[in-house]
Amino acid sequence: MSEGMGGWLDFERPLVELEQKIAEFRDFADGEKIEIRDELRRLETKAEKLRTQIFTGLTRWQRVQLARHPRRPYTLDYLQRLTGCFLELKGDRGFGDDRAIVGGLASFRGRKVMVVGHQKGRDIKAKLERNFGMPHPEGYRKALRLMEMAARFGRPIFTFIDTQGAYPGIAAEERGQSEAIARNLLVMARLPVPIVGIVIGEGGSGGALALGVCDRTFMQENSVYSVISPEGCAAILWGDRARAPEAAEALKVTAQDLSKLGVIDGIIPEPPGGAHRDVDAAATSVGDTLDSALAELEQLSPAELVEARLQRFLAMGSYLEDGLPKGLGHS
């Protein structure tokens, strides 16, 4: 990952440099002078062209890089902007508190909601504390505890999905990573309250899906969601992690891919250049999506909600039955 030059990606660097130049020019030059105004306008037109050039027709690998961008907003960045009140609740009541998942009680545009989400760290210390956003079983069990609590008290649930995947380590296996993920899938499928999920960065495999059994799932424009990381896929297929860009193409990991396939309900637009260029605007779009999805789901009775959720996941698949195409992805 290109983290040099203040944490910008290679392909966005020319734009960022040009924007910095414009900002400096504006600060130091005398804006009254006509030739300076012309020069500024020229540079701004150039920046606009460059932005369009870079961000239309991004490759899938570039989307992966944006989803992992070191400056990309994380769950708590959104909660800070979207919730009037957020009271974090910790611990799985069995082993410990996993900092790679956060959750708690929140107020959101006049409603009371339970929120759970993966949490990555910004600086090295926070990255370690958050284990790079890769949960252990106790993280999933904490999320489950909070979601079951929400269901008991009739509160809807928001999930924020942003993880490379569940942590592959000895302790995680000892404490039942598989069981923890599987249990979340089973229980989430039947919780009698609305669940809306947003993939805000990386939707990495089972570790992401463990917060992903929702009535509505949306992806931000530059997020990805995949059964295996492009690196992991490349390692299996070609024995070479460096071929991850090819794997990303083959796996079809972008919001646009999943929307086309019918696996998600919509794509949340990001500000020009990505969510990290204007976090407030990105948060507003996310909030509007949560708001309207919830308004829709609140029309359903708990029984209708749970049945619709089951049908939604039963429809996931693509196969031939007696030679005829069935399920998704046959268009």
Binding site: A166, Y167, P168, G169, I170, A172, E173, E174, R175, G176, Q177, S178, E179, I181, A182, R183, L185, L186, V187, A189, R190, S205, G206, L209, A210, G212, V213, Y225, S226, V227, I228, G232, C233, I236, L237, W238, A250, L251, K252, V253, D257, L258, L261, V263, L310, F313, L314, M316, G317, S318, Y319, L320, E321, D322, G323, P325, G327, L328, G329, H330
Partner: protein, 295 residues
């Protein structure tokens, strides 16, 4: 499935030619003992010397687990499609055809109904010989349908796993099979019907992290590799050697994620006992073979 009613002789025909070692004399993968094939068949492909459980096909398990001739395949005719038009060095479509030719199966699963000691059950069993038992749309759909058939007929569900995990050639749809199968098991549980999960070597990834870990009772064959992340991935992540016995059935039993490690020859009796307990049939008389550490 006519071959299936041929009784014990059918076993030979059902042996997967590529996955099963050839010849009359075979070497045990664990203890390197030279074994005589007819003896091995009689012992359900368990090494008489060290107890190593060879990998066998779903059809061989059916011979072992179910009343003779009771298995009836259901939901045959489901075949994989290629929603992503996936290709690496080979096209997914070509890999499917190659696996179908090699195994004689449509996908990595055989499902249907059968009886155990006269107790009707639904069964969904994975075949490792078909693309590593990986779970794509067909596997997920047949498990979901087996669960629905179990609900409709008021019988229990047995799943038998042997899988490397999700089938990445089906991308996100293979991941979604984890949610799909788990959601159906939630419904099965609401109907108060039992799910018995049997784990065999190997059961990893998305299969372990979904239906396979959701049995009311979870049985595992001795020394089967069972885990979420593969040992190679863990070793590379933590950059150290893994402890002896890590992610084996006995390890899972000790950590509380498997009810019992069961020798292959005892699977049928164990299953019959569990099913009888949940249903109306009387519990079998006589004791199951005790393991040294049972109390």
């Amino acid at each position: 499935m006519a071959w299936f009613r041929r009784g014990k002789k059918g076993i030979k025909a059902a042996v997967d030619k590529k996955d099963m070692p050839q010849g009359v004399w075979l070497k045990c993968r664990e203890c390197t003992e030279i074994l005589y094939r007819p003896e091995l068949e009689k012992s359900h492909w368990v090494c008489q010397k060290c107890g190593y459980h060879f990998r066998i096909s779903s059809r061989q398990y059916f011979q072992l687990l179910f009343d003779e001739g009771s298995f009836v395949e259901e939901d045959a005719g489901l075949r994989p499609s290629d929603p992503l038009h996936f290709r690496d060095s080979k096209k997914y479509k070509d890999r499917i055809v190659a696996a179908q030719t090699k195994t004689g199966l449509d996908d990595a699963i055989v499902s249907g109904r059968a009886t155990v000691d006269g107790i009707p059950v639904s069964i969904a069993a994975l075949d490792f010989s078909f693309m590593g038992g990986s779970m794509g749309s067909v596997v997920g759909e047949r498990i979901a349908r087996a669960a629905q058939r179990a609900i409709d007929a008021r019988r229990g569900l047995i799943t038998l796993s042997a899988s490397g995990g999700a089938r990445m050639q089906e991308g996100i749809l293979s991941l979604m099979q984890m949610a799909k199968t788990s959601a159906m098991l939630a419904k099965l549980a609401e109907e108060r019907l039992p799910h018995i999960s049997i784990l065999t070597d190997p059961t990893t990834g998305g299969v372990t992290a979904s239906f396979a870990s959701l049995g009311d009772v979870i049985l595992a064959e001795p020394k089967a590799l069972v885990g979420f992340a593969g040992p190679r991935v863990i070793r590379e992540t933590i950059n150290q050697e893994l402890p002896e016995g890590f992610q084996r059935s006995e390890f899972l039993e000790a950590h509380g994620f498997v009810d019992r490690v069961v020798h292959r020859r005892d699977l049928n009796r164990t299953l019959a006992t569990v099913l009888a307990f949940f249903g109306d049939a009387p519990m079998p008389t006589g004791r199951l073979r005790r393991r040294q550490d049972d109390h």
